[in-house]
């Protein structure tokens, strides 16, 4: 049981993933982006090698559909997997094997895949996609987080009679660098999506400061000094 939004920003080419699930430390499975190459996810009985295989295929020049086809033909148990892939052109594909548990499926369009399993219903992936598409000019990390929050608010994981909380969540965005722009995690929490929003809001205040002190350490203020400017601003 998991719900996920893969997204590509059409303006900037930035690539990202937002993911939330009942399982713990889901960010461990979300190292699934290569800058300007693609983003992927393998979930539901995840084949842990799939993400890197998919990224290597995309890096070699295969498109999203071909990469997905290779993953399936490479895996005797692909009917138990749920996979999403977006390539550098924004072409997007999703796959849900017939043995994945609970309500499971995806909504796919240019530059996005909304995918999940063990969900309350189709409306959850629809809500995620709708929220992701609502603000196309906003930063990708904001759009991905709005998508995940919409999935939570639409009921998230469970079935007709039960609900399963999100215990972990993660948000990753890559721009042009080989390392992430945004890499935020909640690994074990009773309301992981709420907690991810808290981490995100706090981190966003420091994002530029952390970058600037690394690029220009000479004369950079201490973090304690920087924080007094935050307190003044608030």
């Amino acid at each position: 049981m998991t719900y996920t939004i893969l997204g590509r920003c059409a303006r900037t080419g930035r690539l990202g993933i937002g993911i939330a699930t009942f399982s713990i430390t889901v960010g461990r499975y979300a190292h699934s982006i290569r800058s300007m190459v693609g983003v992927t996810v393998s979930q539901a009985n995840a084949n842990e090698n799939n993400n890197q295989i998919a990224l290597r295929l995309l890096d070699q020049g295969f498109g999203a559909q071909a990469a997905l086809d290779h993953l399936k033909s490479n895996d005797a148990y692909h009917s138990y997997r749920q996979i999403g892939v977006i390539d550098r052109t924004g072409a997007a594909v999703g796959y849900t094997g017939k043995n994945v548990r609970g309500w499971c499926g995806e909504m796919v369009g240019e530059n996005y895949v909304s995918t999940g399993n063990g969900l309350r219903g189709q409306h959850v992936v629809e809500a995620i996609a709708k929220a992701f598409l609502a603000e196309p000019d906003a930063d990708l990390e904001h759009r991905l987080l709005m998508g995940i929050e919409a999935g939570r608010d639409a009921g998230g994981q469970g079935n007709a009679t039960t609900h399963r909380t999100e215990r972990s969540a993660a948000l990753l965005v890559y721009s042009r660098d080989p390392y992430p722009d945004i890499d935020l995690r909640v690994d074990l929490h009773e309301k992981a999506v709420d907690e991810l929003r808290r981490v995100y809001v706090e981190y966003k205040q420091y994002e530029d400061y952390y970058r600037a002190r690394g690029e220009h350490p000479r004369g950079a203020p201490s973090q304690e000094a920087f924080m007094t400017t935050l307190r003044k601003a608030s």
Partner: protein
């Protein structure tokens, strides 16, 4: 303001990194660990490209000392960095420039490096080393955690206004090329190391279940069924 340890397990050859700091989401700035290659971690004023560049050089076969020289030649602000490097054989090298705020320093041991800045003093490094060496037969992830706890209990970070809590912490261990063994994070918490122990201990309960359902999903029980077995056991 950070204290960290990078290490290689001499019996399993697994590589691991533990980090704790006042900054937020430090685990999102730790790309420099790769199975069969080595580890590089840059901290204090972070040059974000450093760690991945170092891995490229280690992969080419350069020694940690040679890699460090190349990093220095590539970076006009090398004196503001604190860098530790270890290769897949456990050879280690470290650099604490004059730029990181005091107290800053490192200790190179047999197959590991303990290092930190804005610390209470050298006793913090001693605490990290002592924690790491206390139980050499434990799994690497728990030795790294004991090291972070040793650093915390020896006084941790002290800035201009006094003691600084650990607000984020992370542990990574790798033994496979395409996915981590352990990737556990706390991004924003008033006692991040204590919270990291909670996350890691919980993950270890699920570790084999998560792995096996990926290998043989046709034989896997649902997570709800697995959680029910846990509550019976407790």
């Amino acid at each position: 303001m950070t204290f960290s340890i990078i290490a290689r397990c001499p019996t399993t050859r697994r590589l691991g990194l533990g980090i704790a700091t006042f900054s937020i989401a430090a685990g999102g700035r730790c790309e420099g660990i790769r199975h069969g290659v080595g580890i590089c971690k840059t901290q204090a004023y972070i040059n974000r490209g450093n760690d991945l560049l170092a891995l490229q050089m280690l992969e080419q076969g350069l020694s940690p000392a040679a890699v460090m020289k190349s990093l220095e030649a590539n970076d006009p602000d090398h004196e503001f960095r604190q860098i530790a490097i270890i290769d897949r054989e456990g050879n280690a090298c470290a650099h604490t420039g004059s730029g990181p705020r005091p107290w800053a320093g490192h200790h190179i041991g047999d197959g590991f490096v303990a290092f930190g800045n804005v610390l209470a003093g050298p006793q913090v490094i001693d605490g990290i080393v002592k924690g790491f060496l206390a139980k050499p037969d434990d799994e690497l992830e728990f030795r790294l955690l004991a090291a972070l706890e040793g650093g915390r209990d020896a006084g941790g970070q002290v800035g201009g206004d006094g003691h600084l809590p650990e607000r984020s912490a992370a542990i990574f261990v790798v033994s496979e090329p395409d996915h981590p063994d352990i990737d556990a994070r706390v991004d924003l918490h008033p006692e991040a190391i204590a919270e990291l122990r909670r996350v890691l201990e919980e993950f270890k309960i699920y570790e084999v279940f998560y792995r096996d359902r990926g290998y043989r999903p046709d034989l896997a029980m649902s997570q709800a069924e697995f959680v029910a077995t846990l509550s019976k056991r407790a």
